[in-house]
Symmetry: C2
Subunit: 348 residues, 2 copies
């Protein structure tokens, strides 16, 4: 099992996932050694027909009458074969002192978005994208039943430069036994801002950006996508639900019907304007529903789930590492302008 | 002039350096467009003889009798031709509200470490490395004379994957009109930890790691290098001065004589064991000497300058972006072991 360690100075936790690499030459990102070899041989464990090559599925949407771990699925969720964290009993509180650690208890699952190796998420028809987004909700609810999984992080790495080790379309879910630093910072800050203005900070941003329109990329009946004022990266985007809620779990079926085209449209825009870039998306939501109100009493009013979408076009270098500052050569107003004007036609 | 913008929720500042890119195809990291073209033609503005192709030098160590902006230098400092920030009068305080910004006033300089295009920093003889390290001190002192440059960040990006846009050996200095978030966090946390134990947190780490030796990579009379307990990246290292001081400026000439071999030794170890990886180093020090005691009253006792050295072997992906968590496949104890055992012999 891996180990969680805390950097006492910064409050940042890291995961030492050492079983993934035994030799000094093996320090590349997890999975890459074994799985690249597989993929080089033209073998993909996520393709239909290869169900036995993954750990047994924990959830799937599949044709009626087909059985678990056989073909017939449309979206399939399996535990990660090389997990950063593994399910287990609630870990003891970390020791005190300079060197704090705890066992790497958590969840690490892969959402295989389609049986078709060649179809990226963006290429799937809307009802299929809706199913993928629904599966996220299903898994979050399932994982949050166990209280010691304090935060569920849903994310996608598309392309090698964005951290993907397998090219078959997939996203990932990691649940951690503590609330990560970035989330805590957002929660505390949102709470402070709410106390000051008695209004959700995110709702204010959505309203202002919706009126101003300069950085608005897309809007439909339930969602909007904006290029944030202080974008760290060129063409960074944030997707917000218009209805205030801290929980992805609260999405209704009507909202899913709006979320799929919102996501597909902006991903298509990025694909056509930036020549199919690698990207990450991450869902920021409240910690485990069953815990969060104790620690953040105003969380229901002050926090607002959202999805960050960041194409990988530049590299984080020494200045960013050292300071937490980012240098962005593309003003978000310009990025939003390009994305608004250009529709899905391929520019090549 | 570029613009500084604050993300109100996270407290993070970013720099919109839009003059660096005009078209959507130009969103690659700054400098790369123009300068890659130059370098592709075999032209390097940092090489001896091409002094007229950079902005006029602001400092150099050179042969007696040679003049400014002509050959004869060993280390040369010039303003960045495509600066992220530019010198100017003290900027007004940022406006309040949801969208905070201020003019991009600051300093952005390049330290050309050697006239020899082919010799990386690690390959230079010790007296030359000492001169480069001394030049950092000279520039910090010079820049800090103007009080509105609140923080001076010295860093090096070596290799394209670490963010370097020119291959000629160089490091960079960026001074910002605010204290960056990461530095503030370290300062506040160090102060809190000092208050609790009445001892510098960094001095405690140095003592513990020096006794335990598991993560100790190198030690000489004035410096030690350790693989930190909660390393974010494989083979991440931190170099600490044994003598407590928050200021790089306080380095004595005796200490420079120890710093050069400490840095050269660990860079050589990384080079030989990890096949000459791209890397970043960054110096973390107190904010502008002339300001910091007001804001951080115990800073002289609680903060301790250091240098982070991070080879670029893995990629930051969605999970790291989303949570601030890092997954590290190499335990620092194993990394330190490899680095201790292996000396400079090339493994190829």
């Amino acid at each position: 099992m891996s180990q969680l360690r805390k950097d006492v100075l910064s409050g940042r936790w890291i995961i030492i996932a050492s079983e993934r690499s035994k030799r000094p030459d093996d320090f590349r990102p997890h999975q890459s050694q074994v799985e690249k070899r597989m993929e080089n041989k033209g073998f993909c464990p996520f393709c239909e027909g290869n169900e036995s090559k993954t750990p047994p599925e924990v959830f799937s949407l599949r044709k009626a009458g087909t059985s678990k771990d056989t073909p017939g699925w449309r979206v399939r969720v399996v535990p990660n074969k090389f997990p950063a964290l593994e399910r287990g009993t609630p870990p003891p509180k970390p020791n005190k002192g300079l060197f704090q650690s705890m066992p790497g208890v958590g969840v690490h699952e892969v959402v295989i978005e389609t049986p078709d190796h060649e179809k990226e998420l963006v290429d799937l028809p809307l009802p299929h994208i809706r199913e993928v987004l629904f599966v996220f909700q299903e898994r979050i609810q399932n994982i949050e039943e166990e209280l010691h999984y304090q935060y569920v992080q849903v994310f996608k790495n598309k392309g090698k430069e964005a951290g993907a080790s397998l090219s078959h379309p997939h996203s990932q879910i990691v649940a951690t036994p503590i609330v990560p630093k970035r989330i805590k910072e957002e929660l505390y800050s949102a709470e402070r801002l709410f106390t000051r203005s008695q209004e959700c900070f995110f709702c204010r941003i959505i309203k202002e950006e919706g009126e101003n329109k300069e950085r608005l990329v897309y809007q439909n009946s339930h969602f909007c996508v904006i290029a944030p004022f202080a974008s760290r990266f060129p063409f960074e985007l944030v997707l917000y639900p218009l209805r205030h809620s801290p929980h992805y779990s609260s999405l209704t079926s009507d909202e899913f019907k709006s979320l799929a085209p919102a996501l597909k449209t902006v991903l298509l825009k990025l694909k056509s304007i930036l020549s199919d870039p690698p990207y990450n998306f991450i869902i920021h939501q409240s910690p485990n529903l069953n815990l969060s109100q104790k620690k953040w009493p105003s969380i229901e009013n002050s926090y607002h789930w959202h999805m960050e979408i960041t194409p990988v076009l530049t590299r984080v270098a020494g200045f960013e590492l050292g300071t937490g500052f980012y240098i962005n050569p593309v003003p978000p107003e310009a990025a939003a302008g390009y994305l608004r004007e250009n529709s899905h036609k391929d520019r090549k």
